[in-house]
């Protein structure tokens, strides 16, 4: 179990929040309104989750809460009590393992600088968990909250389509 106290001078309003982070139970004493993005990046040094706008527009900070994509920059700690949080670090479920979406991004070149990539992959993984065989419209819808400045999105679209194919092969339905 990860047990940490926020390095901020313990604010009077600090509360203990219990949730699951990448499969591990966590108890943190933090101000309830502290943003998840700050807890991840500053307090826990989980920097796979990126930060690009802090207003919910770029998607670089995308994580899963109970399997659904949310912007960590808009999420406050009190909202996570009892929830399941998954970041890019926990997406594949093992240190060496790669999620099908991660593999597909590698193979198709769905990234360049890579800074949008964790958020993009988290959003795509959430989509495929819910709809293993999405249409292009559904892919575009699911990723329209994730900005990428490098790729022009061509490689990203191809990567998600490829992840769908990988999923089909794994199912033996392709």
């Amino acid at each position: 179990m990860i047990e940490r106290t926020n390095p901020l001078p313990a604010a009077a309003d600090a509360a203990v929040i219990s949730f699951t982070l990448n499969g591990e139970p966590v108890r943190l004493a933090v101000p309830p309104a502290r943003r998840l993005i700050d807890v991840l990046r500053h307090d826990l040094l989980l920097t796979g989750t990126k930060i690009g706008c802090e207003i919910g527009r770029c998607g670089a900070c995308m994580v899963l809460v109970d399997g659904r994509p949310v912007n960590a920059c808009l999420t406050m700690m009190y909202q996570l009590e009892g929830r399941r949080v998954t970041t890019i670090e926990g997406l594949a479920g093992g240190a060496e393992a790669l999620h099908a979406v991660q593999r597909a991004f590698l193979e198709e070149g769905g990234f360049q600088c890579g800074y949008c990539t964790p958020g993009m992959i988290v959003s795509a993984a959430a989509l495929l968990a819910e709809r293993p065989d999405p249409t292009d419209d559904e892919i575009v819808e699911a990723l329209s909250g994730n900005l990428c400045r490098c790729t022009g999105y061509g490689g990203i679209l191809r990567a998600v389509r490829r992840a769908v194919a990988i999923g089909r092969e794994a199912d033996g339905t392709g």
């Binding site: 990234f111 600088c113 964790p118 329209s144 022009g152 061509g154």
Partner: protein, 771 residues
């Protein structure tokens, strides 16, 4: 052949930096943290233009948790920076010239305390008139922003007598083109970690496009020798030119020196918008005339660039624009003048395309307008005037000869998209005269196809120090190290080096270690700008190939008792050339060799002999066609299909090549249709990504076909040309022409204003009914 993963086959390799990026394990420099580190923030000017009467920091310094508050009084060395001329203060002392100007900086235990301290710094300003347009700044009674006035730079080029030539012209087109203040919008904002080392040195972990130049600039500011600073500058979460100049580095470095503790700075997006570079807004007026056969007789151009408060590379951008408003065509007479003007707007500076985007948008607009006037197909019209093999460059300078312009011209003409244009035009005429051409589209949706040519110089050009260097070394552990002073900001530097090393030496990817982005380890290879890195690495490897291979083989020959001539480099080690059997592993070779095996090279980027600063010797060429759909009810333009023919020599790294063209064209799409960092009275109205819109995936659903033309003339010694910028240039003018094809409306200002394209419904129904 269209380049894709399938057509590239085995050369489509997984990027060496890929696994770290897709798993989130790769640490960007703004991800770094150290125990006990402080957080730095910068106080920016409250006014676009003001005198500073007093700065009081006592209350901020007294706040518990604040470890340092610095102002201009605390700069031990030069209180100024700038790649080309140092006219930007690190901290303003008596005057601020834009809203991003730094007045003070704070280091504190937490970001929250640091922010609070900023609010306690008191600055007395005396506001001055805001020069928020180049016109105001150029007026004779304007306040001088710098001792030498408000002109950063003028450029000109003349040949022949345009006035006389206009009198001869059968058709003349005159138009003014206006381009936006585009923001780089790298997803990772500026930041880094600054660490005082026990030996008294300072390590700077902060993205830049030229680590050694940052080191030089920081040494000047800190008043220390360059060796006292180490700059680690890769990986980078995007730059596009925007992190070429210093940004937060001076503040991080000064705060770390002042406190003796590691200091982290990471800009918020708002600060990034406020302080960071943008693409120069330009107003380009062109008057261009042709004779009856379509030959260009006269071309007059006036460029006014808003460079903002300080120089950075504003002069060089103007030089580039001056060259590229001439571009790939032959003219009988030319008259080009440009001026780059200091204002109190945001900083303009280096940005992918480097002034070519604005220039070529205007130039290609002229070509389309002239073709229409002359009644000639726009693509055929370009051919009449196109530079061919043997022609000099835009300034009449000697250039490396290729027939790239013609090669891409032909490719585009034969492309399916361009052929579709003919049938679309026929269908369009049919639907205008009768009930629609069979398409199930509502009548307010119009489609059109347009195209544009690009001739883009790469490298910094004549008269600008443009060194190149590289080093190869068999390291102690048996890895072959490829050491270059270039930076990885997403373009695929690692992938390019890996591909070239494997192709050159026949080694395996596991034999290789790539070393970049660390001034303690790399030679001065020049900057990672101007689309030059892949070309420079190729040329460096060509020079190092023979000596390095020979040394490896000779050492192996000594150790195995075989003749060097019968040996070859192979994955894992040195092998028998005939049988391919591995004879000695690189690790054993490294352990047993008597001396270090290595090679290195220093040279200068090839330049033209015309003595004109910035004139290029090497060019890449592209032809771009695009199909758009215009909704006449909303005025919205959707980009459907794109075709890019690119003549830039051999493809080094197919995945990177496709990515550069696709990614560049995504930026051009934003430049054409969406993006503008709007300023009013010297203040940004666009502050974050809610009001500054870059293309999303929904804007980018159309197809993009990339067709490289790899053939170079027999004996060409320069190899792959730059492709990092050219993809970001041609799409905007092609979109403008496609919009004209779709609607009949000519746009000359970007981003395209939808209001110009909206038609009243009654007009529409008339069009449908054939009235």
């Amino acid at each position: 052949m269209i380049l894709t993963r399938e057509t590239a086959g085995g050369r489509w390799r997984i990027r060496p930096d890929g696994p770290g990026k897709v798993t989130g394990r790769l640490k960007y420099l703004t991800d770094l943290a150290l125990p006990g580190m402080l957080h730095g923030v910068v106080l920016r000017s409250a006014h676009p233009h003001a005198r500073i009467r007093a700065i009081r920091t006592e209350r901020a310094a007294a706040l518990p948790g604040v470890r340092a508050v610095l102002t201009h009084r605390d700069v031990p060395g030069l209180n100024a920076f700038g790649i080309s001329r140092q006219d930007q203060p690190v901290f303003c002392s008596d005057r601020v010239r834009y809203v991003g100007d730094a007045v003070a900086a704070v280091a504190a235990d937490t970001p929250e305390i640091a922010e609070r301290a900023l609010g306690l710094i008191e600055v007395d300003y005396e506001p001055l008139p805001v020069l928020d347009t180049p016109e105001k700044a150029l007026s004779p009674d304007a306040l001088k922003l710098h001792p030498h006035g408000n002109v950063l730079h003028r450029s000109e080029y003349r040949r022949g007598d345009v006035d006389a030539a206009f009198a001869e012209c059968v058709h003349v087109v005159e138009e003014t083109y206006v381009t936006p203040r585009q923001m780089h919008t790298y997803l990772e904002t500026e930041g880094g970690l600054f660490v005082p080392e026990p030996d008294g040195r300072l390590t700077v972990y902060a993205p830049t496009q030229h680590g050694l130049l940052d080191r030089l600039q920081l040494a000047r500011i800190l008043g220390v020798p360059e060796e006292a600073i180490r700059v680690v500058s890769s990986p980078i979460g995007g730059s596009f030119g925007g992190k070429d100049e210093l940004n937060i580095q001076p503040y991080g470095a000064l705060l770390a020196r002042a406190t003796g503790r590691p200091v982290k700075i990471h800009h918020s997006r708002r600060e990034s918008v406020r302080a960071g570079l943008k693409r120069h807004p330009m107003r380009i007026t062109m008057k261009t005339g042709i004779d009856a056969s379509g030959r260009l007789l006269a071309h007059r151009v006036r460029i006014v660039a808003d460079t903002g408060p300080y120089a950075t590379l504003g002069a060089e951008v103007l030089n580039f624009a001056t060259e590229h408003v001439i571009g790939p065509y032959r003219y009988a007479n030319l008259d080009v003048e440009g001026v780059s003007v200091y204002t109190n707007n945001g900083m303009s500076g280096e940005f992918r395309g480097f002034g070519g985007n604005q220039a070529i948008f205007a130039l290609e607009g002229q070509m389309d307008r002239l073709a229409e006037l002359a009644g000639i197909d726009p693509w055929e019209f370009r051919l009449i005037n196109l530079r061919r093999m043997g022609d000099p460059g835009p300034f009449g300078q000697q250039i490396a000869q290729t027939d790239g312009a013609y090669q891409v011209w032909v490719k585009l003409k034969e492309s399916p998209l361009w052929r579709e244009r003919d049938s679309l035009k026929r269908a369009g005429e049919a639907s205008a005269s009768a009930q629609s051409g069979g398409a199930a589209r509502p009548p307010w949706i119009r489609t059109g196809i347009g195209a544009a040519m690009v001739m883009h110089g790469f490298g910094l050009g004549y008269g600008i120090p443009d060194p190149a260097a590289g080093r190869l070394r068999l390291a102690e552990d048996g890895r072959i190290e490829a050491i270059f002073g270039y930076e990885e900001f997403g373009q695929g530097l690692f992938a390019a080096i890996e591909a070239l090393m494997i192709d050159t030496f026949g080694i395996g990817p596991d034999d290789l270690r790539i070393v970049v982005g660390d001034t303690d380890r790399v030679p001065d290879s020049g900057s990672s700008t101007a689309s030059r890195t892949t070309a420079m690495i190729w040329q460096a490897l060509r020079r190092m190939e023979q000596p390095f291979r020979r040394k490896l083989l000779e050492a192996a020959a000594r150790l195995t008792g075989r003749a060097a001539g019968g040996l070859t480099l192979a994955p894992g080690g040195v092998a028998d050339a005939e049988s391919g059997v591995l004879l000695i592993r690189y690790a054993d070779l490294a352990a047993k060799a008597e001396e270090t095996i290595g090679a290195q090279v220093h040279f200068h980027f090839p330049t033209t002999d015309l003595e004109r600063i910035g004139a290029h010797f090497l060019y890449s060429y592209a032809a771009v066609a695009v199909k758009v759909e215009v909704n006449l009810l909303t005025g919205r333009v959707r980009v459907l299909d794109q075709y890019h023919a690119v003549a830039a020599g051999p493809v080094v790294n197919p995945m990177g090549y496709v990515g550069q063209i696709e990614g560049g064209s995504g930026m051009a799409l934003g430049f054409a249709l969406l993006e503008d960092a709007v300023m009013e009275n010297g203040h940004y109205l666009t502050g974050n990504l809610d009001t500054y819109l870059i293309p999303t995936i929904a804007d980018s659903r159309g197809t993009v076909a990339v067709e490289p033309v790899e053939e170079l003339p027999e004996g060409d010694p320069y190899g792959p040309r730059g492709i990092g910028e050219i993809g970001s240039v041609g799409l905007a003018p092609a979109i403008a022409e496609a919009i004209h094809e779709a609607t009949g409306v000519r746009v000359s200002r970007l981003p395209v204003d939808p209001a110009l394209l909206i038609r009243r419904p009654e007009d529409l129904w008339k069009a449908v009914d054939g009235r």
